[in-house]
């Protein structure tokens, strides 16, 4: 009888390691398994964004970029891009560093935040991680695994996008990878922020909100700090240096590289992780450091019908959309005053000419931005109608319709609030655009011109909204078609001329039919036609929703 043959007790077969990190590897594998598609899509989307932006820079060529550099000196573009290194010799490299870093970092920081919260606090809140933590999984294992996941994803994204920058932009590989690597390091700071937030709040939504607020503050601090600086003397001020976004931009990639600002990112990440570890060791499972605030025990008298309910559900999203987009359009309006200075150079470039058309540059520019504003309202309309389906899928529609609430009232309430929201987003966007231009001293186009610009676009998001509710009523599963139509409208609006699309293909976009109040003349028949299509779709929706099963089979 040998000891080898005897089945030994399992506990002894593997020495018991009791660490707060036990099971980290297995948790990481689980997270990768859950998120493989989601992360693949993110990576592909970010790479595609890099590719399309770089393609544009290459297409513009040296002259085009130099014309663009003039715009980059304006406060508006400093807000929307970067501190303006290398504007004197603005080639593809400096353009990538100056214009892309901000947005790619914001996107990847959001990815960091979403992933960290999704795998830590959200799991805890749902009770799923209770099952795992009851097994041989240490206290810190989920947090550390989530962090490793983000490190891994950011590294992969950095490698892929570095290759895109070097390949599409024809830039030195070393510096390209250094730049995307720097963005990854910057995005990690926000993973650490999210990890701290996940310890503080009991709720995943609050943790995400807190982290996004920190990201927003970083955006604002960098923008304000950089705008205050005099570009001839300095790029960025002390205020800018408070923002983790600046630490990446201040590496001066492709201009005069220095990498020590990344040390700040790493140091802050380390400190935040230590804070998260301490907080995480002290709190109970499922508990937070801040107790959630209680709300009202009784509803306000106004909360008594489907309309009040729909408003209550959508007002938060509407406020944030209006505010966020409004700030962007305001900043964009600020560029207008600098446009005449670059008119000739800009219009020499064939790409800009294709997008902006002939004629008065300021008006052409505002027409393009106006389309963006209207597309923003369209995106709001699309997401507001898709809400209807979510409400039904989780069973809230059924619960409400089992009360004395008729189907038409229910659908009508959501439609009214969504439509009013789209109108607000569109008109407030036009207003913000005007305000941004007016603040910098631009008087032409006038207030009336820009509000008119917003107003003529109203029927286009109306068609998207109508199609959304009609699909919801008749073929709820086909609702993703709505995003496809929106994406197509975007392509037609921005690149229709550049891609030489036939009119038949362009006509699918409701935006294509909208006449041009700033450049051309208003064709009322088109507006009436669009409004009629939207109205017909809405009527169809009401007929269909009265007839179908809820929930839809």
């Amino acid at each position: 009888m040998t000891a080898v043959a005897a089945p030994g007790p399992l506990v002894r077969a593997r020495p018991a390691r009791t660490s707060t990190l036990t099971g980290t590897g297995r948790m990481l594998r689980l997270m990768l398994r859950r998120d493989r598609w989601r992360l693949l899509v993110w990576t592909a989307a970010v790479a595609a964004l890099y590719a399309s932006a770089l393609g544009e820079y290459v297409l513009l060529g040296a002259d085009g970029l130099q014309a663009r550099a003039v715009l980059m000196r304006t406060p508006a573009m400093i807000t929307l891009a970067g501190p303006g290194y290398g504007l004197d010799d603005y080639t593809v490299g400096p353009a990538v560093a100056n214009e892309l870093v901000l947005w790619m970092l914001v996107a990847l920081a959001v990815l960091s935040i979403l992933e960290v919260v999704r795998h830590t606090r959200a799991e805890e809140e749902s009770g799923r991680s209770e099952v795992l933590r009851a097994g041989a999984v240490g206290r810190h294992a989920p947090s550390v695994a989530a962090l490793l996941l983000v490190v891994l994803v950011q590294a992969v994204v950095a490698v892929v996008t570095g290759a895109v920058v070097a390949g599409v932009g024809r830039l030195p590989a070393g510096e390209s990878f250094a730049l995307t690597g720097a963005i990854a390091v910057g995005a990690l700071v926000f993973a650490a922020v999210a990890l701290v937030a996940a310890q503080v709040s009991e709720h995943a939504r609050t943790a995400t909100g807190l982290s996004l607020a920190v990201l927003g503050a970083a955006f604002v601090a960098r923008a304000l700090g950089d705008v205050q600086g005099d570009l001839e003397v300095e790029h960025g001020t002390a205020l800018s240096w408070l923002s983790p976004i600046a630490w990446v931009q201040q590496t001066r990639a492709f201009v005069d590289p220095r990498w020590w600002p990344l040390g700040l990112s790493l140091a802050v990440t380390a400190v935040l992780l230590a804070v998260a570890a301490v907080l995480g060791s002290r709190r109970d499972f499922g508990g937070g450091l801040v107790a959630p605030r209680g709300g009202r025990a009784d509803a306000a008298a106004a909360l008594r019908g489907p309309l009040a309910l729909a408003w209550r559900q959508q007002r938060g999203g509407l406020a944030w959309t209006t505010l966020g987009l409004g700030a962007m359009w305001f900043a964009t309006g600020g560029v207008v005053s600098s446009l005449p200075a670059v008119t000739s150079t800009l219009l020499e470039n064939p790409v800009y000419r294709a997008i902006l058309g002939e004629g008065d540059l300021v008006r052409a520019f505002l027409r393009v931005i106006g389309l963006y504003v209207a597309l923003g309202a369209g995106a709001y309309a699309v997401s507001a109608t898709l809400r209807l389906r979510t409400e039904e899928q989780v069973g809230r529609t059924e619960y409400a319709l089992a009360t004395a609430t008729g189907r038409h009232r229910w659908l009508g309430a959501h439609l009214v609030v969504a439509a009013a929201g789209a109108v607000v987003v569109l008109l407030s966007g036009a207003l913000a655009l005007w305000a941004g231009a007016a603040v910098t001293g631009v008087t032409d186009p006038s207030f009336g011109d820009l509000v008119g610009l917003g107003a003529v676009y109203l029927p286009a998001p109306g068609v998207l909204l109508g199609l959304g509710v009609a699909l919801y009523a008749w073929a709820p599963r086909a609702e993703p078609v709505l995003w496809a139509l929106f994406a197509w409208s975007f392509v037609v609006g921005l690149f229709g001329d550049l891609l030489r699309l036939p009119d038949g293909a362009r006509g699918v976009s409701p935006y294509w039919w909208v006449p041009d109040p700033l450049v051309g003349h208003v064709e009322v028949a088109h507006l009436v036609g669009l409004a009629a299509v939207a109205a017909a779709l809405v009527v169809l929706a009401f007929v269909g929703f009265r007839r179908r099963d809820v929930p839809a089979a």
Partner: protein, 319 residues
């Protein structure tokens, strides 16, 4: 006699190839607590959704409070309150706000009654709905339903998330509702709950009613389990009408006979056993449990449910 509160006859509903309801019958009289019993996927929720005018039936008739559930939905809903099986609330509303909203959508409720119920169900109304557990969401819907001044309560597995203490509170409230003359349709797959609370029971399987009546009637329809030791030769017992599954084994002082007997044939069995010289005798009355298993156990299909074992699985997603 007044018209039934719920009257369903031969109701049919399919989702694509899946037949969720296949000739269902259900009647609830005024003031009655009616149990609606069936395993998951039998069609309970589908039936309720048809009654609420949410789903349109493919065939058969359904009358609710004297009206057409589809055409008169809004008017009828003023007179009933519904608790869904899986309650989903508006995440940014507090529990208290959700209760007020739902009762107002129904036509209003007494705030004192709401306060009383909140206390009885130990529910904190100031918390946001997204922070509630399943049990607490269910309590919100129960409070909203019980606080409403309505004739009919439609409850779809209302206790599935409640702990035993809260279940007891719910039972008391249900009894109080009955005393006030309200009618209740209580769907459940928990037998003890139905046995405790209901006057009548309708048992469904694979979208079809297989049994309905008062609890006493249903018990009458079922078999008792008999175990006896007799001195004589027990072979004759097996050929008696209404006697099933006879097993004989040698026992001290004679033969042990174990069998099931239909309620209608107990007398005949006793006469025969008496002639054989009974040494010991036990008879177990049928529980609802056995009744249930008789209809759903795949091992013992009866005429009504024969061959339904496979279909039951295919309709599991009907909810």
């Amino acid at each position: 006699m007044t018209a039934p509160v719920i009257e369903i006859h031969d109701l049919r509903k399919s989702f694509g190839a899946v037949r969720a309801l296949d000739g269902l019958d259900l009647t609830v009289q005024p003031g009655e607590v009616a149990g609606f019993l069936g395993p998951n996927g039998a069609g309970k929720s589908t039936t309720i959704r048809v009654l609420l005018g949410l789903l349109r039936a493919d065939g058969g008739t359904a009358r609710l409070l004297g009206g057409d559930p589809w055409a008169d939905a809004v008017a009828l809903h003023r007179r009933l309150a519904y608790v869904p099986g899986d309650v989903s609330l508006w995440p940014n509303l507090t529990g208290g706000e959700a209760i007020d909203l739902v009762t107002r959508l129904r036509g209003g409720a007494d705030p004192r009654r709401k306060a009383e119920l909140l206390e009885r169900f130990e529910l904190d109304p100031t918390r946001k709905a997204r922070t509630y557990s399943k049990g607490n969401r269910q309590k919100v819907a129960l409070v909203a339903a019980l606080a409403s001044d309505v004739e009919l309560l439609v409850l779809d597995e209302p206790t599935s998330g409640l702990d035993p203490l809260m279940e007891a509170v719910f039972m008391q409230e249900l009894r109080a509702a009955k005393e006030q003359g309200r009618s209740v349709l209580l769907s459940s797959h928990i037998l003890s709950e139905v046995e405790k609370a209901c006057d009548t029971v309708t048992i469904i399987r694979a979208g079809r009613s297989v049994e309905s009546g008062t609890l006493a009637e249903l018990r009458h329809l079922t078999r008792s389990a008999v175990s006896a030791v007799v001195a004589g030769d027990a072979t004759a017992v097996a050929s008696l009408p209404g006697v099933h599954d006879v097993v004989t084994t040698p026992a001290a002082g004679g033969t042990r006979v174990q069998l099931d007997v239909d309620a209608a044939h107990v007398g005949g069995l006793l006469t025969t056993l008496g002639r054989l010289g009974v040494r010991s005798f036990t008879a177990a009355p049928p529980s609802l449990e056995e009744l249930f298993l008789r209809h759903y156990g795949d091992a013992a299909p009866t005429d009504g449910a024969a061959g339904d074992g496979q279909r039951r699985r295919t309709t599991a997603g009907a909810r």
